[in-house]
Symmetry: C2
Subunit: 162 residues, 2 copies
DNA sequence: CGCAATTATATTGTGCACAATTTATTTGTG
DNA sequence: CACAAATAAATTGTGCACAATATAATTGCG
């Protein structure tokens, strides 16, 4: 699981240079992206993480909190209050599962379903702001998904070792 | 400033597919990266954003809050409490500028300076977890910096229009 | 000089993120 | 059936992020 780590021959000064840290480019680009979404989602009273949850539900309605969390990589500590806000907006319902009383099923309301049509134009609008062509975006998407997969698998390996 | 937005001929179902949203890959990869850093920084009592601020100060000591914020793309609302925590850790000092009493100068303590040597190995350790080669990391870094630049310039354009 | 506009930082309030813990329920094993 | 282990959500506490506002100091212009 552990890759061979080739220690680079970069000079000492350069190693901690902020602009050479891919982690920082990732971090700052992600925040910039969220800021681009903010004014586009604000008319609907939505935040970016709330929008992500809705994307999942529009693909597959009626999911448990856990299943939702696995899709968006968030846990109940983040999702529970977020889902309560979506419930307050009347976009979703939260219902205890009848058979397994531990589960809570998240389902779209008709308002939540209809919202899909109102936001469907947003991704195209955002992609305009990226300065990337569609193929470039697709490539970057694949690179980031692969990166995420490696990071998460190493995270899980660390946790399993404990 | 506005790019021409070629509307893709993707089918309606696919447009809002979570796994095709580069924004989400960015968002989730960034959080995964922060989680990789967490156990590496925890021994020093540092969070990832605090580490970023230290990276800036190790490059150039004695900066105002604003100047720091421009480097890490964070504002005083985020930085003021973060810097107070670094001060409490005795890693930095916060001093009002004598000539311009509005500015606060952030400076490393000797402890803060010496910490650099303790964390200098971390980037190499992280890069092992990315599953990427060094050239791949460098390329991704450049792509993300370019993306961030486009997003931020469009954000500023929106703000200027108000 | 006087004072309005600007600038720098701090504060407030909302909403994530996440580790750690708690509560409630179900499942597996004797 | 009993009950320990496992599972699913919710809760708690800390630390970002950021918009909006407040506070304080400086600058520029008449």
């Amino acid at each position: 699981m552990q890759n061979e780590c080739v220690t680079s021959d970069l000079n000492e000064q350069s190693i901690l240079n902020l602009d050479e840290q891919m982690c920082f480019a990732l971090y700052s680009a992600s925040h910039a992206m969220t800021k681009i979404y903010k004014p586009l989602l604000a008319p609907f009273g939505l935040t970016y993480p709330q929008y992500l949850v809705l994307l999942v539900l529009w693909q597959k309605d009626q999911m448990t909190v856990n299943a939702l969390g696995e899709r968006v990589f968030l846990d109940s500590g983040t999702l529970t209050p977020l889902l309560k806000r979506l419930e307050k907006l009347a976009l979703i319902t939260r219902k205890r599962e009848a058979i397994d009383g531990r589960e809570v099923i998240i389902a779209l309301t008709s308002l939540g379903q209809s919202l899909r049509g109102d936001v469907v134009h947003i991704p195209a609008s955002v992609s305009c702001n990226t300065g990337c062509t569609l193929p470039e975006i697709k490539l970057l998407n694949q690179q980031l998904i692969a990166l995420r997969a490696h990071l998460n698998s190493n995270l899980n390996a660390v946790k399993a070792a404990r």
